[in-house]
Symmetry: C2
Subunit: 354 residues, 2 copies
């Protein structure tokens, strides 16, 4: 109750807590990490929620993610690459949270075409579907800080050059640009949130190719060793998934965001060593080990990265509310209760190389 009230106060003022009430909302990637957390919140706000997800193996889609809201949402299993299905599904939707994507950087370098199909071509076909069949929909796209590459200055603002360091980053940048062009040229109201390191319940833990933080959490929960390269002093910022859900809700309700991109990051820089130590402390399990940099990892390391989210704060009043300690605590508790829904590997299997 308090959490829902808080977002409504932020976004719409105390009295009118109902932007999403009865509203038809589509979430692509709706069974994934952020999508499912967003769905739960939208259900609580009284929205009419349609989740589209391909449930592709190795992606974050997981039916357990909507365990508590399964009968309160519609689920349509389909792939955003399936343009004709998307043409149908976007019709009559009022808000679309466009979160479906291929998020593994490693995979994008092994198979750049699949990444292109999902992160470029499908974004075009989703937007074409909106342009031709539902031009009044409001779209919020899940972008990524990856498109900035290795930063020139910190914290990174939206004025920083887009300089992706892998195919995934390039295709995500193109996907974001399409949204802005369809906003500006065709009037399909769209904006993009460039997310930094998001963590929390319902994140994929099966493998380590979708970012390190879920993997670190799994290692801690399984009482295994978290390996850090060098002295673990690289800085990052971390944002709890509920805060990201708030960000999407605010962006979806605000026409001030149309045609704009916004960083959505944590409240400040934290070193990987600090993160890992705090995680182990909160979990009461796991341990940290420092290892030498492998040359091939050193070569692709982007150094420190943390974002300046003040543009988004100015636009819609968003600010992160959940501290890193509190967020890690909630996350660890969630996985302690539900680990078997997220991990196929038995506990005693050697970990994949992070």
């Amino acid at each position: 109750m308090s959490e829902i009230k808080k977002i409504d106060e932020i976004s719409m003022g105390d009295d009118n807590a109902s932007f999403y009430k009865g509203r038809r909302v589509l979430i692509t990637g709706g069974l994934g990490f952020i999508g499912s957390n967003l769905a739960a919140r939208l259900v609580a706000l009284g929205a009419d929620v349609l989740l589209v997800d391909s449930l592709t193996p190795d992606s974050g889609g997981n039916l357990f993610n909507i365990d508590g809201i399964r009968h309160a949402v519609q689920v349509n299993v389909s792939d955003v690459r399936d343009a004709s299905s998307m043409q149908y599904l976007v019709r009559d939707q009022q808000v679309m949270f466009n979160l479906a994507g291929q998020v593994s950087h490693v995979d994008s370098m092994r198979d750049p075409y699949t990444d292109l199909e999902i992160n470029c071509r499908s974004q075009l076909s989703i937007l074409e579907a909106c342009r031709h069949h539902n031009p009044s929909v409001k779209v919020v796209f899940a972008g990524t800080r990856q498109i900035y590459g290795k930063p020139d200055v910190l914290p990174v603002t939206e004025e920083h050059l887009v300089r992706p360091i892998d195919v995934n980053g390039i295709n995500k940048a193109a996907g974001e640009y399409y949204h802005l062009v369809y906003n500006n040229v065709f009037g399909v109201r769209s904006c993009a949130l460039r997310l930094t390191n998001v963590y929390g319940p319902r994140q994929l833990l099966k493998h380590n190719r979708q970012g390190f933080i879920g993997w670190f959490i799994r290692l801690a929960v399984e009482d295994r060793e978290i390996q850090l390269f060098g002295d673990g002093s690289q800085l990052r910022d971390f944002v709890y998934v509920d805060d990201v859900v708030n960000a999407f809700l605010l962006a979806g309700a605000s026409d001030a965001c149309n045609g704009e991109v916004f960083n959505v990051g944590g409240s400040g820089p934290v070193s990987l060593a600090e993160l890992a130590k705090l995680l182990v402390e909160v979990a009461g399990t796991g341990r940290v080990r420092f290892a030498d940099w492998p040359a091939e990892r050193r070569a692709i390391d982007i150094g420190d990265f943390y974002a300046d989210s003040s543009k988004f704060k100015r636009a819609v009043g968003w600010t992160g509310a959940v501290t890193l300690r509190d967020g890690l605590d909630r996350t660890v508790r969630y996985y302690r209760d539900h680990l078997s829904e997220y991990v196929e590997t038995p506990l005693d299997t050697p970990p994949e190389t992070p």
Copy 2:
């Protein structure tokens, strides 16, 4: 003798021994405007030249473009979208000038998928072919100033944000980024030249969807009316194709360019009204008419644009050598001699709306 010095001597008119002499060079889009001019120069320098072009209707490919060098080059008609042909064709090449592209902004908004296939997916498959079959090739990509969109500051340097205003600009940006990533990650040496408004002999004149300057030249040569919106005060910079050919040659011979992007523009801003008046004066035919801005054109106008090319000058010593008057004069003479090879429409047909 340094490599830069050697090239300076060659490209700036010295007949000394050549970096390109006997070198195997592939040009994608080799029957197009810039590609064919580059081919002629490479033949003169003694290179072993392979031209790949799809001769797609409406694109710039034109066999007449290589009329004088037809027996000195190899021509392979194939589309860069044909990944298996490209896999074969890149083998054993030492330098690739990667110029094939869909260049119509209008077409990209009507059919974004074709633009994506040519400007994104084909770039990936060309680079994958290099990565797997010829990793030692040096690649120079033809980028475009279009990726900057409407500039924040003038002149525009490479530090300006990439902010495309249409699908073509997005896909060209992605194509450029792929080259940089394949350079940085896979060691396929690549760089990109962001060209501004290039003009000269062998440019497409059939229609006006590939930029205004070729169209203006056609109108002048055909003694028709050049229509300018408003007072024609929008600034642009113009670069003659021989100077652009020099730019490609220098970039292809210099490893200092690897992983970098460079603006390649004209020597300074010129208003459209100045350009059109100079063109009419040089041609002795045509006339200029000022018209009110149509609302839909006003909406997509990017205002003034001109580039700062000093980064490229610092890297390889490039500078434009041909004045606008001289370049227009050479261009008009060329089309007076060969207009029927470039124009299918009889002289008395009403012009398409520019």
